[in-house]
Every structure is written in structure tokens, then in C-alpha cells.
């Protein structure tokens, strides 16, 4: 069923692209769909462009695992549209032709701006492409049963076909279709979640029996831990930095890892899930991995308003949220730890971590708003980048050139705000739905929403998966159009001044799309396993640092000069990328200790955005223009 819906969708999308192919014979047709898209269609296409894999897969996954902190992304992403509507929509429409670089350079004709803005567009687009491609692999892997790399390759090939056949025309209609379907079926899924209600022993609609994780009483004797119950033997103990302890217990020859926890009743060992690599063989929960022996999906409420063994049945949207928010509700979340045991085997252990409902429904589990000064600064930095980033994303900005006039640009932004805002409210319900219905893959939170859909049957799973796939296609298409415009239009045509007729310009755009699509495929394979929402947050930081200061100052400060704009873009790109490269989260990705990272912040915006503004002001003051005036 899932494969049928998926193939049907892909065939339809490619057929649509081929049908629209004749609209992309000119540069205007290829890059801006002729500038004739209706504002209503453009508005929904905006939503389709913007609601990426990060929004659908990443945010839902993050809410499912850390609660409200994931919803902060929804709030920040939506708030960014206010900057787009009130500050940049109409002026940018008036200034630009095909690309964001055109708008920045409209009053200057500066080679510096062309080069800097084109590079910035490429960098931001590639930063944004990585999580989309990672999301594609994550999605296709369980859907079609093919490896992650093949999933990424397949998505890349389809997207290149969409873009290379009809450029912005096909991209617009794919995004429109995807935006529309995403909102409709996410609403259906949320309705199903609320009607099912809350249950302390969720069984995925009767499909998967609820698994009871056990606890064993234990005793501590110095550094040793022993199990009180008979027939359990402690065979290994590992201490993790930060005070965590895990013991390997043997029962009847089966070895499993247990989490050592202090409770009101004394020391207890809590059952975990584990993946241990012994030589070439992967062991899951004490037995060799197989089709039947995989990690169990997790996520449930241990108590609802202080009571165990409760099934609320049908709820409404308010009582659903209130039930989880109750301070006596206990949510079982899962944390991950990696270590090498005393036998030299690599182990990944997923251990339970119970949190009260009132704690999980406010910020703090991931972003430490009650933590140290640096941790709070990191939160501030993230919220700043999300707010400032939307209006600086090249693939979003080029959509202002697909409508006929500035008023249409404004109206399409409002449609986008309505559609995107509504969807982001739904993300809270979908994420929490996955959290309480036992539909989180502990090894990969990105699949929370599709797995939640699967608990309602194969049809909804097939539709939601196909839409999630369309989500990737729509956003990646937009990114590749933006990036190919930066290469073919900004660099080849404007910067290097290579003589091309209109057909050659379109061909250059299509060749660029092929190359960028190839790079995206490669990066999607390399970055497998990272939370896609986190990666998009970084792309926002780069966009906000590199592009927004230039756009805002161009529009509102008359002393802005071409050199000031070019310098601020370069500083924004270099500083934000540099800070990210040496951040704790990237150190974890490199396999290094995050505590050794020289930059203590994961989100660079709080440093790089002001620095980019300051650079623009200083360089502009040092290089006053003679006669050109800012807009």
C-alpha cells in the first residue's frame, strides 16, 4: 500500500514536470515561472517550499523526544515570516529579477555583491539541503526497505528531474500540491490522535502489544552492584562521565544492559534497550539483530494525572494537551548513551527517563533556560536566528519573483503565514501524539510522525509517508532552483559575464541543477543520523548572519555601500560557519568530546548576526558612495 501510494505520487510529479516543461524555455520561465503565478497558489507553494523535512519530520521528532523544546522551532520559524511580510516582501519584489543577488545588487552593479551574495546563496542552500536529504533517506529506508544511501540517491534523481525539466514552474506546482496535502492530512492525523486520547499502556491501536519495562531491586557494595533477585548475574559495569552507571546482566545466557537508578525505594536497575556490536554482528537487546529482533518503538505515559492503568478515550484538543501538562502526569522519555564496554564492544544504550508533564510542556529539557549563562545564551541565539532567518533564505526569497506585482507578493506571504501557522500548531499535537502512543524509534526520532500514522493503519501511513516524501521533493526542488540561479545567473551570467543567449542561460541553469543535486546526494549520505530540525536551525543561523543584515540595511540605511554589503555577507558566512564547525554539537558528530569544543555555543546567531551588521556599518562608513543612493 505504502509503496503503491508512493510510486503513484512520484509518477504524478514527474508527469507534471514534463507537462510544464515547455514553460521553462526562457530564463524568466525557468527561474520565475514567468512571474505569473497567482498569489493564492504562490502562498500555498510558499508553505510547500518552507514546510520542509525539518518541519514535518524533525520538529515532530524533537517534540516527541524532548517535548515543548521542539515546539520552539515551530514558533521561531513562523515568527520569521513577520520579518518577511513587514520588512522585505514588497521592496524585494520591486528590486529583484531572478535571484536574491539581483535585489541586493539592483542599485550598485557591484561585482563584489554578485560574488558574495551568490556564494552565500550556495552555502545557505547547501546547509539547508543536507537535512532535507537526510530526511529523504530516513523516510525511504522503512518505506521501501532500501538502504539510506539508495533512498537519498533516488530522491536526488527525482528532484533533479523535476528541476531540470521545468524549473520554477514544476517546482511551484509540486510545492503547492505538497503544501495543500501536508496540511489536510496532518489535520486528519491530529484529529485521530485526539480522538484516541491518552493511555498509560498504548498498543498502537491494538497492533502492537504494550511492552512493560521491568525494574530490578539492587544493592550497592562499594563500587560493586549486585542484584537482589535470583538468577540474575552482573557481568559488567560501566561508569559514564556525568555520573551515569550501567550494568550488564546475564539471565539464562542472555546479556542485557540495565540503567542504575536511585529511587525512593532504594537502588533499582531499569531495563533498557541496547545495540551492541560484537565483531561483525549487531546484537539488539541481547540477541542477534534480525527482521524480527529490532529495537522496540517507545514513548508512553507512566501516569495520567497521578493515576496508572488509565485510558481516557476520546478527548478534545484542550483536554488532550491539559492531560499531558498535568503536574502529576509522568511521561516516559528515552535517552541515549554510547560507550565501549569492558570487553571492547561498542554499545548504544537507550534508557528510560521519566519526566513530569508540567516539565515536558515548557522549555528546558533540551534548551537549558534554567542552566548556566552560556546555555541560556545558546537558547537566545537560537530564537534570534529563527526569527531573523526566514526572510534571508534564498529559496524563499526567489518565490517573490514568481508573482506579477508587489501586492501579490504581500498577499501570498499572508496566505503562507496562515497555512504555515496552522501547520505548526498541528506539529505540537503530532509530536506529543508520537510521544504518548509508543511510536518513536529510539534510534531515530525523525520518523515519529510517519510511525504515528502507521499506528492508525497502512493507508494513513502510506499517505503520510508519501506526503513526507513530497515534503522533501518540494523543498529540495526550491533549494536547487535557488542554488542553480546563483551559479548560472549570478556567477556565470552576471559576475563572469559569459555571453549566453536565453536558451544557453536555461541550459546553464539545468546543468547547475545537476551538479548541485549531486552534491546534495553526497551530503545527505554523509550526514545520516542527525536530527534534521537541528541542522535546519543552523542553516537559518547562516542565512540570518549572511543575508539579513544586507537586506535590512539596503532598505533602511541610506549610507549603505556595495563594499559594506559584500563585506557583511562574507563575515556573516565565515563567522557563522566557523562557530558551527567548532561547536559542541559538531564535535559530537566528529566523534570528539563536546566538552572540548572551543566554542561553547551550538547556535552562532547571537555572535554572527550582530557582527555582520557591525561590519556593514563600519565598511560602509569607510567607503562612502559618491552618487548611488540606497533604496
Amino acid at each position: 500500500m505504502a509503496i503503491f501510494v508512493f510510486v503513484l505520487f512520484v509518477v504524478f510529479v514527474i508527469g507534471l514536470s514534463l507537462y510544464l516543461g515547455n514553460k521553462a524555455k526562457t530564463s524568466s520561465g525557468y527561474y520565475t515561472a514567468g512571474g505569473n503565478i497567482h498569489w493564492g497558489v504562490n502562498g500555498v507553494a510558499f508553505a510547500g517550499d518552507y514546510l520542509s523535512a525539518a518541519s514535518f519530520l524533525g520538529i515532530c521528532g524533537m517534540i516527541a523526544t524532548v517535548g515543548y523544546d521542539g515546539f520552539l522551532y515551530s514558533i521561531g520559524y513562523l515568527a520569521g515570516w513577520i520579518v518577511a511580510l513587514f520588512v522585505v516582501a514588497e521592496p524585494l519584489k520591486r528590486l529583484g529579477k531572478y535571484t536574491f543577488t539581483d535585489a541586493l545588487d539592483a542599485n550598485y552593479n557591484s561585482r563584489g555583491i554578485k560574488l558574495a551574495a551568490a556564494i552565500s546563496t550556495l552555502v545557505v542552500s547547501i546547509c539547508y539541503l543536507i537535512p532535507q536529504m537526510v530526511g529523504a533517506g530516513v523516510l525511504v529506508e522503512p518505506l521501501l526497505g532500501i538502504p539510506h544511501a539508495w533512498g537519498v540517491l533516488m530522491v536526488g534523481a527525482i528532484v533533479i528531474t523535476i528541476v531540470a525539466t521545468a524549473g520554477m514552474a514544476s517546482t511551484t506546482y509540486v510545492q503547492f500540491l505538497k503544501g495543500f496535502l501536508l496540511i489536510i492530512f496532518s489535520s486528519v492525523l491530529v484529529g485521530a490522535v485526539v480522538v484516541r486520547g491518552l493511555n498509560t499502556q498504548p498498543d498502537q491501536g491494538g497492533k502492537v502489544e504494550f511492552y512493560h519495562y521491568t525494574s530490578l531491586p539492587a544493592a550497592r557494595n562499594g563500587d560493586q552492584i549486585s542484584v537482589t533477585a535470583a538468577d540474575w548475574d552482573v557481568v559488567d559495569k560501566v561508569d559514564i562521565k556525568g555520573g551515569l552507571e550501567f550494568v550488564n546482566l546475564s539471565q539464562g545466557g542472555t546479556e542485557t544492559w540495565w540503567f542504575v537508578s536511585e529511587s525512593d525505594n532504594g537502588l533499582v536497575l531499569k531495563e533498557t534497550q541496547s545495540v551492541v556490536t560484537k565483531g561483525e554482528v549487531k546484537w539488539i537487546n541481547g540477541a542477534p539483530a534480525s527482521v524480527d529482533n529490532q529495537l522496540r518503538q517507545v514513548g508512553n505515559l507512566e501516569k495520567i494525572a497521578g493515576k496508572t492503568n488509565v485510558n481516557t478515550g476520546k478527548l478534545n484538543v484542550f483536554s488532550f494537551l491539559a492531560g499531558i501538562t498535568d503536574k502529576e502526569t509522568v511521561v516516559r522519555t528515552w535517552k541515549t548513551v554510547n560507550f565501549v564496554d569492558n570487553s571492547g564492544d561498542k554499545a548504544t544504550v537507550y534508557y528510560p527517563y521519566d519526566v513530569t508533564g508540567d516539565r515536558i510542556m515548557r522549555p528546558g529539557l533540551k534548551f537549558k533556560v534554567e542552566g548556566s549563562f552560556l546555555e541560556r545564551l545558546d537558547f537566545l541565539s537560537l530564537m534570534l536566528a529563527l526569527f531573523m532567518g526566514t526572510a534571508a533564505l534564498p529559496h524563499i526569497l526567489i518565490r517573490y519573483y514568481t508573482v506579477p506585482n508587489p501586492a501579490s507578493a504581500r498577499k501570498s506571504t499572508i496566505v503562507a503565514i496562515a497555512a504555515i501557522g496552522f501547520f505548526y500548531i498541528l506539529t505540537l499535537f503530532m509530536g506529543l501524539g508520537a510521544m504518548v502512543n509508543g511510536t518513536i524509534n529510539p534510534a531515530d526520532s525523525n520518523m515519529a510522525a510517519p510511525l504515528l500514522a502507521r499506528s492508525y493503519g497502512q493507508l494513513l501511513f502510506a499517505i503520510i509517508s508519501a506526503i513526507a516524501f513530497a515534503t522533501v521533493l518540494g523543498t529540495v526542488s526550491g533549494l536547487i532552483v535557488a542554488a542553480s540561479g546563483a551559479v548560472a545567473h549570478d556567477l556565470f551570467d552576471r559576475f563572469f559575464k559569459i555571453k549566453m543567449d536565453d536558451r544557453q542561460k536555461v541550459r546553464a541553469g539545468k546543468i547547475s541543477a545537476f551538479v548541485i543535486g549531486g552534491i546534495a546526494i553526497l551530503l545527505g549520505i554523509l550526514f545520516k543520523g542527525m536530527n534534521v530540525s537541528f541542522l535546519v536551525g543552523l542553516a537559518f543561523a547562516v542565512a540570518a548572519s549572511a543575508n539579513l543584515p544586507a537586506i535590512v540595511m539596503l532598505l533602511f540605511w541610506k549610507k549603505t555601500t556595495a563594499k559594506g554589503i559584500a563585506a557583511s555577507i562574507v563575515v556573516g558566512v565565515v563567522v557563522s560557519l566557523g562557530l558551527i564547525a567548532f561547536s559542541p554539537e559538531l564535535y559530537t558528530l566528529y566523534g570528539l568530546n563536546p566538552l572540548d569544543a572551543p566554542i561553547p555555543l551550538n547556535n552562532p546567531g547571537i555572535i554572527s548576526i550582530p557582527l555582520s551588521f557591525i561590519t556593514l556599518v563600519i565598511v560602509s562608513l569607510l567607503t562612502p558612495k559618491k552618487d548611488n543612493s540606497a533604496v
Partner: protein, 100 residues
């Protein structure tokens, strides 16, 4: 203008009005957003206070940030459109002067 826009930009007499209105509405929303961030940073416990139908301040404020964005956007569009129509009439018939 050194290279032409995608579609020829017509003269927009409402441009300065829309820009000023946009900045004012942006500042209002930015302050509302900043309030959310600052409460989290300075008084994080407040976010757990139940304020409406069992929902805490974090959820209600988060939803409001989304809903207020849409309301502001609709108001902005209404006022921009009204001004565009008003100035278009004034331009087409110069004898009509703006009241108030």
C-alpha cells in the same frame, strides 16, 4: 535601476505608508516575541503556570505568537489595500483631496 525586475514595477504612491506601517507592526510583534524569550530566560517557572483550560503559559503564549502573526498580517493587508485604493483614486482624480 541597473537591471530590470521580473515584472516592471509600477509607481507605488502607497510605498512610504506601507513601509512605515510595516515597521510599526514589526516592532510590535518583535516586542511580543522578545517577551516570550525573556520570560523563558528570566522567569522560566512562569511558563509552567496554568492559564487557560489546563494549558500552561508556554503553550498559550506559543499559540498566541502564531495567531497574532496571522491577525497582524490580515490587518496589514487590509490597511495597505485600503491605502492603495485611496491613493489610486486620488491620482486618477486629482480634484479629490484626502480628508483628515
Amino acid at each position: 535601476m541597473l537591471h530590470e525586475p521580473a515584472s516592471p514595477a509600477e509607481k507605488d504612491p502607497a510605498g512610504p505608508y506601507k513601509m512605515l506601517l510595516g515597521i510599526r507592526m514589526f516592532i510590535f510583534y518583535a516586542l511580543f516575541y522578545a517577551g516570550f524569550v525573556l520570560i523563558n530566560l528570566i522567569f522560566p517557572d512562569w511558563m509552567g503556570i496554568i492559564v487557560f483550560m489546563g494549558l500552561n503559559l508556554a503553550v498559550v503564549y506559543g499559540f498566541l505568537l502564531i495567531i497574532v502573526a496571522l491577525i497582524e498580517a490580515l490587518i496589514y493587508n487590509y490597511m495597505c489595500h485600503k491605502k492603495e485604493v485611496e491613493l489610486a483614486h486620488t491620482e486618477s482624480d486629482p480634484s479629490k483631496t484626502k480628508k483628515g
